[in-house]
């Protein structure tokens, strides 16, 4: 996708900017759907993804160095290979060779009295999703592919926006990625500053920008409308909850009993979504009735339950 999209994006007309924005939105949507369909990425798969980018650099290092030489009106190819190609490659290989130590979940000590009761606590390191990376003109490959190493190592997908001030390098990157990497994993979008602004305004799960403080402020302002985690969490949690198994009564209990004594000042501050696995028509009707009371509550909630019915009843009467 990047190869077919990129050339048209370098046209400075208003039409192409609109096209670029819709192409970018479609690409981001495609990557996010791919991520949601496959969120648990093994160490081996992460290594294999990193290796694709390493192979791209091995294959394309001369054309990248030539493009940087032309973009800079005579930058040393040796310097470009050292700074941009080898610098990126060192990051990619370091992550490839060390991520096995970073990926495992970490056990944590539950608080009292649960530490004595057999509770379990852990921290898992989950990919954020799709990361946008905006590069600079002065290190046009390094500022994209060096962060990409950590982005892929963490199990994410990425869309790259090279600097329009190094246009040949940007175009070469787009061609190389189109040849070597599935655009649903990593894609390149090229265009002028307007495309850059549209890029920053996309609802990425994380945005990386390297550049000046002045532009950084604009990027953050554009991203602030989207980078709140609520949108992504909501979609993902719904997906997980639909496969949750539980008894509806006990799920009600989980939400009602802690909230009853605080009703009025705490519950109303948040809203919760509740998703139940309906196993019979009767439960389905009951859920509908209860939901009238509960859905006034919302944004993010996971409900799984194994509490007993008798607790439920005392709560439910309330």
């Amino acid at each position: 996708m990047s190869a077919s999209v990129s050339p048209s994006l370098t046209e400075p007309s208003a039409t192409s900017s609109v096209d670029a924005n819709s192409a970018l939105s479609a690409l981001l949507h495609r990557q996010q759907q791919a991520h949601l369909a496959h969120m648990q990425i093994s160490v081996n798969e992460r290594r294999e993804r990193l290796q694709q980018v390493i192979a791209l650099l091995v294959e394309g290092h001369q054309s990248l160095a030539a493009a940087m030489e032309a973009d800079f009106d005579g930058r040393s190819k040796g310097f470009s290979l050292m700074n941009d190609v080898l610098g990126s490659m060192a990051s990619l290989k370091h992550v490839r060779d060390n991520l096995i130590h970073w990926v495992p979940e970490q056990s944590r000590t539950p608080f009292a009295p649960y530490d004595q009761l057999g509770a379990d606590a852990k921290v898992i390191y989950q990919p954020k999703g799709v990361v946008g990376i905006m590069g600079t003109w002065n290190a046009p490959v390094f500022t994209l592919l060096s962060p990409l190493a950590c982005v892929l190592g963490a199990g994410n997908r990425a869309i790259l926006k090279p600097s329009e001030l190094a246009p040949r390098t940007a175009e070469t990157l787009a061609e190389l990625f189109a040849r070597f990497v599935d655009p649903a994993l990593v894609a390149v979008i090229n265009g002028d500053a307007r495309v850059g602004a549209q890029f920053a305004a996309q609802p990425f799960d994380h945005l990386v920008f390297t550049g000046s403080t002045a532009v950084g402020r604009k990027v953050m302002a554009a991203a602030s409308a989207n980078l709140t985690p609520s949108r992504w969490n909501w979609a993902a949690s719904r997906r997980q909850l639909l496969v949750a198994k539980g008894i509806w009564m006990s799920i009600v209990a989980v939400w009602f009993w802690p909230r009853r004594p605080m009703a009025g000042n705490y519950v109303s501050a948040q809203t919760f979504f509740m998703f139940l696995r309906i196993t019979s028509r009767r439960l389905s009707i009951a859920f509908a009735t209860i939901s009238g009371n509960i859905i006034l509550l919302s944004p993010v909630i996971l409900i799984m339950s194994r509490l007993s019915i008798n607790i439920t009843m005392s709560v439910f009467v309330a």
Partner: protein
């Protein structure tokens, strides 16, 4: 640069600017501009180096700390105590001692800014954590005694006193 020249600030250039027709720029040194000169206020893009002089390192540290945190700080010198003082008393994204830029190439250590020079970082385990969500998962045990203990509504009579008794300084 125009502002600096207008103010009579000494500017030393490696080449005549007008003699280079392409995108290359000459190397330029700007010697001791005033604090209110434009070049001291704005971010510099290009091969321009401002030279300021000092007698006491404290004055340099104070001057650095009056401005936004830089992305990088380079200390050139062999005075270990002074190195440590600069490290302890200034805030910057990273530091290279006795050279420039090198810390950014550390793929086993985080690279990033602080304050106005940025947030977050990439490289190394810290970079992996930057792009991961650290998600806490708490699994309660099969048996939860809080209800038997009267710790869930309706609370038992001594609940308030039991909670209050735990508010201790150690």
């Amino acid at each position: 640069m125009d502002d600096a020249k207008k103010r009579g600030v000494t500017v030393i250039s490696s080449h005549d600017v007008l003699a280079i027709p392409d995108r290359r720029l000459p190397l330029q040194l700007v010697i001791c501009p005033d604090d209110d000169a434009a070049i001291m206020q704005e971010e510099i893009f290009g091969p321009v180096l401002i030279i300021r002089t000092y007698q006491q390192i404290d004055a340099v540290i104070a001057d650095i700390n009056r401005r936004s945190n830089p992305l990088a700080l380079y200390y050139l010198g062999t005075d270990v105590a002074e190195q440590q003082q600069v490290l302890n008393q200034t805030r910057s994204g990273g530091v290279t001692i006795n050279d420039a830029l090198m810390h950014a190439a550390m793929h086993d250590a985080p690279f990033g800014g602080t304050g106005a020079s940025g947030m977050g970082h990439y490289h190394g385990r810290e970079g992996f954590l930057q792009f991961s969500h650290a998600k806490t998962v708490f699994t309660v045990p099969a048996h939860d005694p809080r209800a038997e203990w009267g710790m869930l509504p309706p609370f038992y009579d001594g609940f308030d006193a039991m909670m209050a008794s735990q508010v201790v300084p150690d």
